[in-house]
């Protein structure tokens, strides 16, 4: 095959399936050979591998934020990260902080999710301020909890504050409040002075 001029470029979605080991043996062997002979497709794959490595770096630096699952936080712990976890009961509150050696902080919002199809998360950063709505957050209905990772770097920059979150089930275009969760955040340094 010529250099930099692929006659049959492999789509990124197929390259990802190859990388993850999702292809059958014959297809994988075919791609193994193609990639050894094609600089263009190999460069595409390399870019995907760099994305994966970048996401791992962000996760390990505590910069990632979002709504994930217990499975991911379990793997972060297995990777040797220090994960501070808060279980927040439905319509309950928690006093929280982030320690200097914490890598990741996780809030597990307890909620009945059995019949929920679409779940949105409303984040109220501080009393009276405008909220942010995260639509279609991920959840596993059988786990009865939503796992929120707010981002360690953001938490470290926070002053003492009270924040709220609401879980909203979206049903036939209308909202149903599932639960409200309150976080009384205190910076680590303040806790050391008291």
């Amino acid at each position: 095959m010529s250099y930099g001029d692929c006659a049959a470029p492999i789509p990124p979605v197929t390259l990802l399936a190859y990388w993850l080991g999702e292809l059958d043996e014959a297809a994988e062997a075919q791609l193994d050979e193609h990639l050894l002979g094609c600089g263009e497709c190999a460069a595409e794959l390399e870019a995907l591998v760099e994305l994966a490595e970048g996401i791992r770096r962000l996760a390990h630096s505590g910069a990632l934020r979002g709504v994930f699952t217990d499975a991911l936080t379990k793997r972060l712990t297995e990777a040797g990260l220090r994960v501070r976890e808060y279980n927040v009961p439905r319509n309950g509150s928690v006093h929280c902080t982030i320690a200097p050696d914490d890598d990741v902080v996780v809030a597990r919002l307890e909620a009945p999710l059995a019949d929920v199809r679409q779940l949105d998360l409303l984040v109220f950063p501080a009393e009276g301020s405008r909220h942010e709505r995260l639509e279609h957050v991920t959840f596993n209905a059988s786990e009865s909890a939503v796992v929120v990772v707010p981002g360690a770097d953001l938490l470290r920059a926070l002053p003492a504050a009270t924040m709220r979150m609401q879980l909203i089930a979206v049903e036939h275009g209308s909202d149903r409040l599932i639960g409200e969760y309150t976080f009384h955040h205190t910076p680590w340094a303040h806790l050391q002075q008291t």
Partner: protein, 206 residues
């Protein structure tokens, strides 16, 4: 004895392929090495090494999942490839990729056996004897990646992170989320396209 010093570049000599062909394909380079006196096609060897090294490294990462092992694979496979090309032992240069694949498979088996021995030794000693598994200097700008991830819809971001964090297949992510494997693939596909576009990696962004 075979010597290779291509990582730091070589001087052009009488075999300089640029004199003959602006952009020879891999097979042309292989033929040039095979037809020259052993070691006399230095520029062709350097160019072939430059092209094949990242591809073999990717093969190693895919099948060995370890950076150091992938680097070992590159060294061993490319030394053997150049050596056999010099010796005229590669009968079909136009099928070089197939030839290299055969050697990759063979060396991967050896490295996997060596890795198993290494793991047994590591298990005997302390956890902190493990070496750095990072790929070295990152090529990707983490700030851009974070910004682009932040622009994705929630589900796409979550599924991409859950996929890429430790290379999990769609069926595993589907189990974590209690949704279908097909659904994970659709969301993953959309998210990947959006992320590649934001990072300037997609065809549209070129």
């Amino acid at each position: 004895m075979l010597t290779l010093a291509y990582a730091s570049g070589v001087e052009s000599g009488p075999d300089d392929f640029a004199l003959y062909d602006a952009e020879p394909d891999d097979a042309s380079l292989a033929r040039r090495i095979a037809q020259a006196r052993p070691g006399a096609a230095a520029a062709a060897e350097a160019e072939l090494y430059r092209r094949l090294a990242p591809r073999v490294r990717l093969y190693g990462l895919k099948h060995l999942r370890e950076h150091q092992a992938a680097a070992d694979l590159v060294q061993q496979v490319l030394l053997m490839t150049i050596e056999r090309l010099r010796a005229g032992q590669v009968r079909e240069p136009e099928r070089l990729a197939s030839y290299v694949l055969g050697m990759c498979r063979m060396v991967v088996l050896d490295l996997q056996r060596a890795h198993a021995r290494h793991e047994r030794l590591l298990a005997t000693f302390a956890q902190d004897l493990r070496g750095d598994q990072s790929a070295g200097t990152p090529l990707l700008d983490d700030a851009s990646l974070l910004r682009c991830l932040g622009r994705l819809p929630e589900r796409e971001r979550a599924i991409l992170v859950m996929t890429f964090y430790d290379d999990r297949q769609a069926r595993d992510v589907a189990v974590d989320l209690g949704i279908s494997e097909g659904n994970v693939r659709v969301i993953r596909h959309r998210g990947l396209e959006r992320l590649r576009e934001c990072m300037g990696m997609s065809e549209a962004a070129r």
